[in-house]
């Protein structure tokens, strides 16, 4: 069972893909991009560290099909995202690049920024270690878990086509 632990950054509803991967830095180098990932939360942009996690409201990642949205978070080292709900293309992209993302309808009520979160991915059990509260998220399907376990859909493709790396 994969356990993911980290310090929580908190976001509200309808946080869209464009603020995770702004169009104005599409072709910029990563050093420029990383300064504006989630620019709506300046403290996150300045201080987020590898291993931190995100707790969000409804419709996290609504908007565009740009895979850079979850990919930028993964590149920052974000361990997982637990949200009340996700935009569907963003969610698929998260599975495709193996960034653990769990739907958990009550999560916003239970976490404050800075709390310590623990997620058991397979069972979708979400724990607030700071407050001593435990929640049940929506269990990912076996197909999704298998893609994530392989390291993403390209790794799955490699396996399917028997490509040796």
């Amino acid at each position: 069972m994969a356990l993911i632990k980290g310090k929580v950054w908190k976001f509200g509803d309808n946080v869209n893909t464009d603020v995770m991967a702004p169009g104005f830095v599409f072709t910029a180098p990563w050093e420029e991009v990383r300064k504006v990932v989630l620019h709506i939360h300046p403290k996150f942009t300045r201080e987020a560290k590898p291993g931190d996690v995100i707790v969000a409201g409804k419709n996290w990642g609504c908007g565009s099909s740009r895979e850079q949205a979850p990919a930028n978070l993964k590149r920052l080292g974000i361990g997982c995202i637990v949200a009340e709900s996700f935009g569907r293309i963003y969610f698929r992209n998260s599975v495709a690049i193996a960034l653990p993302s769990i739907v958990c309808p009550a999560v916003s009520e239970v976490f404050d920024e800075g709390d310590e979160l623990e997620l058991e991915l397979e069972s979708a059990r979400v724990k607030n270690i700071t407050k001593g509260v435990e929640l049940e998220g929506r269990r990912p399907s076996n197909d999704m878990l298998s893609i994530i376990a392989k390291g993403g859909i390209i790794a799955a493709l490699r396996e399917r086509l028997k490509i040796k790396k």
């Binding site: 072709t27 409804k58 099909s65 740009r66 293309i89 390209i154 086509l161």
Partner: protein
């Protein structure tokens, strides 16, 4: 038990008699679309040593997001795309000679009612205007689809939106969609398919249906369907290749199909609607907009750059001038529309009124080029998203409205009601 349009498409695509919402299927894909995102897709295929696609006849690629390229990295991306198209032998290749992807997928005959179409662009829901199941995916999933021709999908439940009444003069399908986003929220169709039905949907032009299907993704939809009726066939058949024409037919849901929820929307007294920054669901009717001065007005995009939209613009601008402090920037959605507007004298009217008319493409919609905003500036746009930083500075504001609202506002210098005055 009858099936909805989404269930019919996914049952056929997964070779099953029937499917139910919530089931996972492996779906065979009928058609794919990619634009500038194909640079990343091809890069993945290259790195994995994959040198062929599952069916090169079923792939359409074109350049619209940054065409012609505004920066050297964009030019490099285009170069890589051209290399990929050649190496993989892609048959549906349009370079930058066709227009905005979602417009030309129909115009080049790639869309067939009842088929599954995946694109590397969220507004691929547009193909629902023709009764096709169009939806967006990312570049890794597209690489998987190109290599295998299939993808895992969840069968969505479906909601039905019954649109009734005659739209008042000066009010368009864009206003209906914005009204839905405002009243029922941008999550009303999350993870679901939508079917737009009812007498007003049936009466709607194909262009107006495309506007609503296009913005289906803005209310969360996986697919945003209109049924394929005679009007759909009349539109598509001249474009579809002869050998594919036998696949084009009426496509309707079953009378006993199950809907998650049914919404009834009477549009007979609908006002023009405006989405305020920075969310598509932050919508007000024009009577409650107040005094909002603008610096830019943008008419175009895959949502509203069609001939009927340009005709509305020309009608409003005939004999008038764009406000001296406003930049009105107009992008026809495709070369076909561009030429029709040219031959019909529409472009002349627009240019004489002071509009900047650009080549078909996405323009400033996603902050790429050709009309970005400075800090503190405001734009009224006929496009589909008003997210913070979407069209340039994170300190700029984007308001969304119909083509009529955009153009009337460009003349007035502030957001105004485009409807003809009474009396």
């Amino acid at each position: 038990m009858g099936m909805t349009l989404a269930e019919k498409v996914l049952a056929k695509a997964s070779s099953r008699k029937e499917v139910k919402p919530g089931e996972y299927v492996t779906a065979k894909v009928d058609q794919v679309m990619s634009q500038e995102a194909f640079a990343e897709v091809y890069q993945i295929l290259k790195e994995e040593g994959i040198d062929r696609v599952w069916d090169r006849r079923k792939v359409a690629i074109m350049l619209d997001h940054k065409a012609p390229p505004p920066t050297v990295p964009d030019a490099e991306a285009h170069k890589l795309i051209r290399e990929g198209v050649k190496k993989l032998g892609i048959e549906g290749w349009y370079d930058m000679r066709a227009g905005i992807c979602h417009q030309i997928m129909g115009e080049k005959g790639h869309i067939i009612p009842g088929e599954l179409v995946l694109g590397t662009d969220s507004h691929s829901t547009t193909y629902g205007a023709f009764g096709a199941a169009g939806t967006g995916i990312g570049v890794s999933e597209m690489a998987y689809v190109l290599a295998t021709g299939e993808l895992w999908m969840t069968v969505p439940s479906t909601i039905k939106m019954v649109i009734e009444g005659d739209l008042p003069k000066g009010v368009t399908s864009k206003d209906i969609l914005l009204f839905i986003a405002g009243k029922y929220t941008t999550q009303v169709a999350q993870y679901k398919a939508v079917e737009f039905k009812g007498p007003a949907a049936e009466r709607m032009s194909i262009a107006s249906r495309m506007t609503m299907a296009n913005m289906g993704v803005e209310i969360g939809a996986k697919f945003a369907f209109f049924e394929a009726d005679q009007k759909t066939l009349d539109y598509l058949l001249p474009y579809v290749k002869v050998e594919a024409q036998n696949r084009v037919g009426i496509f309707q849901s079953d009378p006993d199909a199950h809907y998650d929820q049914v919404y009834e929307i009477d549009v007979s007294r609908l006002e023009p609607q405006v989405a305020f920054p920075h969310d598509v669901g932050n919508v007000k009717p024009i009577s409650e907009v107040g005094e909002i001065r603008i610096n830019q007005a943008f008419l175009g995009s895959c949502t509203n750059g069609r001939l009927e939209d340009l005709e509305i613009a020309a009608g409003l601008l005939k004999g008038k001038k764009v406000h001296s402090e406003v930049r009105l920037i107009i992008f026809p959605a495709s070369w076909e529309i561009y030429l029709k507007a040219l031959r019909g004298g529409i472009l002349e009217t627009l240019i004489e009124a002071g509009a900047v008319v650009c080549n078909p493409g996405c323009g400033p919609c996603l902050g790429g080029h050709m009309g970005l905003l400075a800090a503190g500036e405001r734009c009224i746009a006929s496009s589909n998203r008003n997210f913070k930083g979407r069209m340039g500075s994170t300190e700029a504001e984007v308001y969304l409205g119909s083509p009529a609202t955009v153009v009337a506002s460009a003349i007035a210098g502030r957001i105004v009601d485009p409807r003809p005055r009474k009396g």
